[in-house]
Symmetry: C2
Subunit: 419 residues, 2 copies
């Protein structure tokens, strides 16, 4: 279960109420007209799980593997990573996931040395099929592990891509196993499509519950409107010029990759030129508590009031690890924590920080997971996707495109073609 | 060698020139009057290296260890982590460093399971000696590994703290090995004090060159003024209300922890109430290329022009890993990269992104390391520390305190005392 507390010190006026109603209707429209496909993934992805499990059962390469190598970048890796990082400690038997995403030669060589071909399958993920980093790394994988695409090695390769993409046609040429991504699902909204579901299912996670959590959020949103989301979206859309940055302050190390997923979702969806030609969009930032109380917090407390903060708290880490009842001479000042659990400590820090920021009139809200499990993660993913669509609608931008990244790609290609 | 390219589209006027001169003089004053001690660390820390090496040579626990467990948070871990992450791949024989920093029970239990007492030494780092996270985790370490402070186990424990602190007095009680931190060196400026030098030396890194790199930056700055730093600082201090966020866009996975160190240094030093009572300070953000070209870049390109971007590039990763000369049917579009190194690819992406942002008139600059080595890292650390002091001086804040984090600590203590 997830609960949502808003403490943003802001009241929606009539104008904001109209904005909320319009945005809600736009999402209904987008869903009904399949303009954005992510709304339906929690239901439409279910058959992928069945299929992936059947495929795994009949495929020796998958059966004998303990490692899944994901070759993908951005939307093709961040979501999978986020889910894997959050669940990993609960699944000691899950297959290891290794992500080859950055064309950093040192990182690639280090990760190559961790991979044993005979115990690995390789999943290459690219919507367009021509992502330069992904396809370059895929070639390096083929060379390094001497993978022969026309022989038995082909069982180790799975591709996930858009129907009709260059990668899709390549896959057909070699009769490789492939899954498609719906055309109306963008990379950053794709974690509950085959992009996330295939690797996470093959790794051994309960992806069924992940989808169910997502479905329950979608249903609740469209049935009951989830007013707290509409208010939060309206607050952000109305005030982003004042509160430029929204910090996702997540308490727990395993949540760090989720904050990166959020940064992509938010930044790439909302940082746009709006329909009036203005550059708009709030800035997302991810921080980890309590570590970053010793870093970013000073700026939040006493720096300019240009940020809102969303706390992400796990109420029950399902750990009984305690601060032992030890008295250290001269350090008695911290003995008040003796006998308490670390679970209590980290959460009390989260609460104390939220309280301290509230006193400084920083707009804050909190998302509380009763525990980390697939259902909660599924809900959390959809919560953020729906929130992003709402804010995008209110900002009058196209939430689902990313025209700003094209120029860099062109310049890159020119640099090499000139050589 | 490091080179610095400024392309911020900004000319210092007379007022800015006066500001630069004043700030430079303030740093001279701070250094001469020992107001901030970090200026001298590159020289004053040298004897620590000799001492730590002698200590290691005579201590069986250190000699027989392959793991150094650092118990510390914020300024007591971020800098050590940053250096370790950057150098790790060049030192396969270096002792492993494990950081126990966050009171996250899942993370602690996972890391505990990686530690074997007989092969480990434990370094507890806290300036005040009463950091609640650090002292609580330290107690958990004592209990979990059944460390008897009055017997031979004491050889496994090293403390690093301020002279006269509670931890210092505790250490005296048990005659444990300890190193002190100069009083005038704050946590976030302490990486070249005993805080960083002891664990990094014991791990096997060439800390001498690290200090030499730092010393050369300090000398150049105070002798030759390094005008590019003064201009960059004046630009940031004069324009932070327009360019609210400075993004450190670092190309290479091993640089991620350095960006976190930068975020702490910048956020905690500059996010302050200035001497006129105003809340001031630019917001730091760390991003990794080329991964975040598939995430944050859209916002930088088309979102509001409220950010400046500093690129951090490693010219030579000292790797010859190539994109193999393989043609994949239907994916010929990316063949222009065949035969090039990943080193070329990641750096061309860095250049292309900087060029694309420049075209959008985003203020950019670039820090180019010819390669990753201790000397460059030492210089880079001092570059950022000096830059922070300059901006702090220009913003009229006390760069070296952090009063904003106290309220949360008080609320935390109250929460437990009420229980």
């Amino acid at each position: 279960m997830i609960t949502y507390d808003l403490n943003i010190g802001w009241q929606a006026d009539d104008e904001a109420s109209m904005m909320m109603q319009d945005a809600f209707e736009q999402l209904v429209y987008e869903r009904e007209n399949a303009i954005a496909g992510y709304y339906n993934l929690p239901k439409s992805s279910k058959p992928i799980i069945t299929e992936a499990k059947a495929f795994a059962a009949s495929n020796d390469a998958v059966n004998n593997s303990d490692t899944i190598v994901v070759v993908g970048i951005g939307g093709s890796s961040l979501g999978i990573k986020a889910v894997d990082s959050m669940l990993r400690h609960k699944y000691p038997a899950a297959k290891r996931l290794i992500f080859l995403e950055n064309p950093d030669p040192v990182d690639l060589q280090m990760k190559f040395s961790m991979i044993e071909k005979e115990r690995s399958i390789f999943i290459v993920i690219s919507k367009s099929g021509t992502t330069v980093e992904t396809m370059s790394i895929f070639k390096a994988v083929l060379a390094r592990f001497e993978i022969d695409l026309n022989k038995s090695d082909k069982d180790r390769i799975i591709a996930i891509t858009d129907e009709g993409s260059a990668l899709c046609r390549f896959v057909d040429t070699h009769s490789l196993k492939a899954y498609t991504i719906p055309h109306n699902v963008g990379g950053r909204f794709s974690v509950l499509s085959s992009v996330g579901i295939v690797p996470l299912t093959l790794a051994g996670y309960d992806t069924c519950s992940l989808l169910e959590g997502g479905a329950s959020m979608v249903d609740r949103f469209f049935d009951a409107k989830e007013e707290h989301m509409l208010i939060k979206a309206a607050f952000i859309a109305s005030n982003w010029r004042e509160y430029r940055t929204n910090v996702l302050f997540a308490y727990g190390n395993s949540l760090e990759d989720f904050t990166k997923w959020y940064v992509q979702l938010w930044g790439e969806s909302l940082g746009k030129i709006d329909r009036c030609g203005n550059r708009v969009g709030p800035t997302p930032a991810g921080h980890i508590g309590s570590v970053d109380q010793h870093s970013f917090l000073q700026l939040l407390m006493q720096g300019p009031k240009d940020k809102s903060v969303t706390f992400l708290k796990v109420e029950d880490f399902e750990s009984s690890l305690k601060i032992p009842d030890i008295e250290l001479k001269h350090i008695e000042r911290v003995d008040y924590l003796n006998g308490h659990t670390f679970n209590e400590l980290i959460n009390a820090e989260c609460d104390a920080t939220m309280e301290a920021l509230s006193k400084e009139e920083v707009p804050v809200d909190m998302i509380k997971l009763d525990k980390i499990d697939e259902e909660n993660i599924g809900e959390l993913i959809l919560y953020y996707e729906l929130l992003t669509s709402l804010v995008g609608s209110m900002l009058h931008v196209d939430t689902y495109n990313q025209p700003g990244v094209e120029m860099g790609k062109r310049i890159l290609a020119e640099k090499f073609k000139k050589v």
